[in-house]
Symmetry: C2
C-alpha cells in the first residue's frame, strides 16, 4: 500500500465542548503510530491558524499533556467561527504547501464541514495531494447522517444533573417560587432541550414540560400547559430551547443588534427563558424565575459522559486511520448497531452531505402536544449520557 | 443533670442548598442517641408545616434514607419563605403543645432566625418549656457572627468549576464571543460573586473582573475595566452579583412587577447579567453573552464541598447537643480557630444577634478599585471549597 507521506494538521472549530479535546487526543495519539505522518501540527483558532500561519508543533507537547486532553474541556487549540472567503482558500492552500501538510483533520459542526469540504475540493482541483477528514463535534447534535455527535452526550448529562437538582429545588420551595424556566442551548434544533427529559426518575419529576424549536409555540397553549402542571403539583419546571419560535416563525426572543451576528450570519438568540418567565408572571400571576446555564453546559468536564469521551476519542483516531487509507473529503460518523445493547461502530460520510446541513429532532421523538419527548427519544438518548445519575433519596413522609 | 423530656421537630426554611439535608441528617442521627428526645418529627415546608400541622414522623424513615440525606441536595422536608403573622405564633405554640414538642430546630438564614427567635420568646413568655436552636444555612454567607455559613462552600465550589470551564470556553472562542458576563446569586451581599475568584489557577484566568453589591457600580468605570482586560487578552469573563447596585443606590436591573415580592418584602432581582451584556455590546461594540446558572448553583450535589457537607452535618448534630444542655434561643456558629491550618469549632450566638441581620463582604476583602477580591478573601474562602478543582492541562503551544 503506497501511502502519502507528509505532515498533518489538526484544528478545532465552532463552540467548544467537554470532549473536543478528546478527539484531538485521538488524532495525535493515532498519528504518532504511523511513519507516513511526519510532523503533527495544530492550528491556533481553527482555520484562522492556517490562514495566519499560527501553527504549533504538537510533538513538542509531553505525552502526559496529550493524554490530559481527554479530561480537559473546551478547545485546547483555540477555536473560531470564521467563514473563509474565496481568496482565503488560496491562502490556506499556500500554507499547506509551504509546510508540506498532506493530512488535514478538522473538528467541528456543520459550518466547519463546509470549510473542510471546500479545502478538499480546492486541493483536488489544484492537483495538490491532500487528505481531508472531518471530525464531528457539536453539542447541538444536528449533524446529519451520524447517529449522534460527540459533545452531545455530555451537554445533556450536564443538563440532566442540573435540571434534576433545579427540580428538587423547585419542589422544595414551590411554596414561593412556583415556576422555573430552564433555558437550554439549541439555536436551531431541540436536541439539547429534548435531552433534559433524562433528568426524570419518576413520573412527576422535572422537567414537567419541554419545548423545542421544531414546534412553533402558541403562548396561550403554553400557559395552559403550565397552569395544568401547577394545578397538579403546586410548582412547575419547564425546559425550553433558546431557539424557540412563535407561530409567526420568528424567534420568541431575538436580539437584533448588529454585533449579534456571527461570521456565518447566524443571529444570536437568547433570553427566551426571561421572556417566558415574564409571560407566566403577568398572565398566570405565578412567581416565576428562570435560569440559563449558557456555555457552562457545554464544557462541564466533571459532568461529561463517559461514553461521549470515549466516542470523541475514537472519532479522532478513526479520522487518522481513514486518511491513511487514502480516504479524503469525508466526515467520520457514529453508526449505531441494530442490537439490544448500545453498540457503536465508525462510518464515513461525504463532507458534501453534511456541510451546512442540519438534522432537526424527528417527529417520532416529539409528543403529539409538542410539549414533551417520546419514549423513542429516551431510548435513543439514554445510552449517550454514559450511565445513571448519582442516587438521591426521598423521604417517605409518613404523617403523624 | 435534669433534662427536658419530649418530642423534637426539625424544619427547613428559605432557599435550598446542597447541604441543608446534611444538617437535618445531623439533627436526626444525634437526636436518636438521646433518650430525652422521644419522637423525631419533621415539619413540611418549614414553619408552614407546624402552622398547618403537616408533620411527619422521621423515625419511620429507614437509616439508609436518613444517611442518604447527606448526599441529596435541596430541602427534603420542603421549604418556605413565610413570615409568621402575630396570630400565627399562637397557632405554632398550640401545635407544639398538642404534639408535646419540646425541641425545635430551625435550619435557615436571617429571616428564619427571626422566626426561631420569636417562637423562643413566645414560649418563654407563656411559660412553655421549649428549647429552640437555629441551624445556620445560607448560600449567601451573610449571617453575622458565624465565620461562614453551611451551603456557602458548595455554591462557590460549583461556581469555581463553572467559571473555570466558562473561562476556558471564552479563551477558546474569544475570536468570536469576546465578553462573557457570569451572573451569580447574592441579592444583598457579594459573598458568592467574590467566591468566583477561586476559579483562577493562573494570573490571567477567569474571572477577570468581579463586582459585588457592596460597591456601587459606575457604568463608565465598568466599561473601562472591561475594555482594559479585552485589550490585554482579547476576551474577558466578568463575574457579577445579581444584586449589583448603581451609583443612585438602585439595583442595576430590578424587576418591578408585584408578584416579584416575596413574603418578607424582598424584591427579586435578576438579569443584571443581561443588562451588562447589552451595555458592553452597545457601548464597546464587543459581542457579549451572559449566563445565569440560577438555582442550579446552590443545589449541585456532585460539586458540593466535602468540608461544607461535614460542617453542615456537624451544625445539625451540635444543635441537638446544645439543646440538651438546656440552651435555647441560640444559633450554632462556626468558629475558625486562629492557627495556620483550617480548623473549625462549634459556637453559639443569641438568635437576637443574627435575626434579620446581614453581614456584608468586609472592606478588606474587596480591592481598592472595587472590581476584584483581595488575597485576604482568598485565604478566607479557599478552605471552604474542600480541596482543589480537578486538574486540567494546557498546551505549551510551541510555534513552528
Amino acid at each position: 500500500m503506497s501511502k502519502l507521506k507528509g505532515n498533518c494538521i489538526i484544528a478545532q472549530s465552532g463552540g467548544p465542548t467537554a470532549v473536543i479535546n478528546a478527539s484531538v487526543c485521538g488524532v495525535i495519539q493515532e498519528a504518532m503510530k504511523h511513519a507516513e505522518i511526519e510532523e503533527i501540527y495544530g492550528a491556533i483558532n481553527g482555520i484562522l491558524g492556517v490562514l495566519h500561519r499560527e501553527i504549533i508543533d504538537l510533538r513538542k507537547e509531553s505525552p502526559r499533556t496529550i493524554e490530559g486532553l481527554k479530561s480537559t474541556p473546551s478547545s485546547a487549540l483555540g477555536s473560531c467561527r470564521y467563514k473563509l472567503k474565496d481568496e482565503d482558500y488560496e491562502a490556506v492552500m499556500e500554507a499547506f504547501k509551504k509546510y508540506n501538510i498532506r493530512y488535514f483533520f478538522y473538528a467541528g459542526g456543520n459550518d466547519s464541514m463546509d470549510t473542510a469540504n471546500r479545502v478538499n475540493k480546492l486541493a483536488s482541483e489544484k492537483g495538490y495531494e491532500l487528505r481531508v477528514i472531518g471530525v464531528p463535534k457539536t453539542v447541538d447534535n444536528d449533524l446529519p447522517v451520524t447517529d449522534h455527535c460527540p459533545g452531545y452526550g455530555s451537554v445533556i448529562r450536564h443538563n440532566a444533573i442540573a435540571i434534576r437538582d433545579a427540580g428538587r429545588d423547585t419542589e422544595a420551595i414551590g411554596t414561593t417560587d412556583k415556576v422555573k424556566i430552564f433555558e437550554t442551548m439549541g439555536r436551531d434544533t431541540g436536541w439539547i432541550a429534548a435531552g433534559s427529559a433524562l433528568a426524570r426518575e419518576r413520573e412527576d419529576d422535572a422537567p414537567h414540560l419541554i419545548y423545542l424549536p421544531e414546534r412553533a409555540v402558541n403562548i396561550d397553549k403554553f400557559l395552559h400547559d403550565v397552569q395544568k402542571v401547577y394545578d397538579r403539583l403546586g410548582y412547575a419546571l419547564i425546559a425550553v430551547s433558546e431557539g424557540l419560535v412563535g407561530e409567526d416563525g420568528e424567534p420568541l426572543s431575538a436580539s437584533a443588534t448588529g454585533v449579534d451576528l456571527d461570521a456565518f450570519g447566524h443571529k444570536q438568540y437568547g433570553d427566551v427563558g426571561g421572556y417566558l418567565a415574564e409571560v407566566v408572571k403577568n398572565r398566570l400571576k405565578l412567581k416565576a424565575r428562570w435560569e440559563k446555564p449558557g456555555t457552562i453546559q457545554r464544557v462541564a468536564m466533571d459532568r461529561a459522559s463517559r461514553v461521549d469521551i470515549e466516542e470523541a476519542y475514537l472519532v479522532g483516531k478513526t479520522a487518522v486511520q481513514k486518511a491513511l487509507e487514502d480516504k479524503s473529503g469525508f466526515m467520520v460518523t457514529l453508526v449505531r448497531e441494530k442490537c439490544q445493547e448500545y453498540r457503536i461502530s465508525m462510518g464515513l460520510v461525504e463532507l458534501e452531505k453534511v456541510a451546512n446541513k442540519r438534522k432537526p429532532v424527528p417527529a417520532q421523538f416529539i409528543n403529539e402536544e409538542g410539549n414533551d419527548v417520546t419514549e423513542a427519544f429516551l431510548s435513543y438518548a439514554r445510552p449517550l449520557i454514559g450511565g445513571p445519575l448519582h442516587p438521591y433519596v426521598r423521604l417517605k413522609k409518613v404523617r403523624i
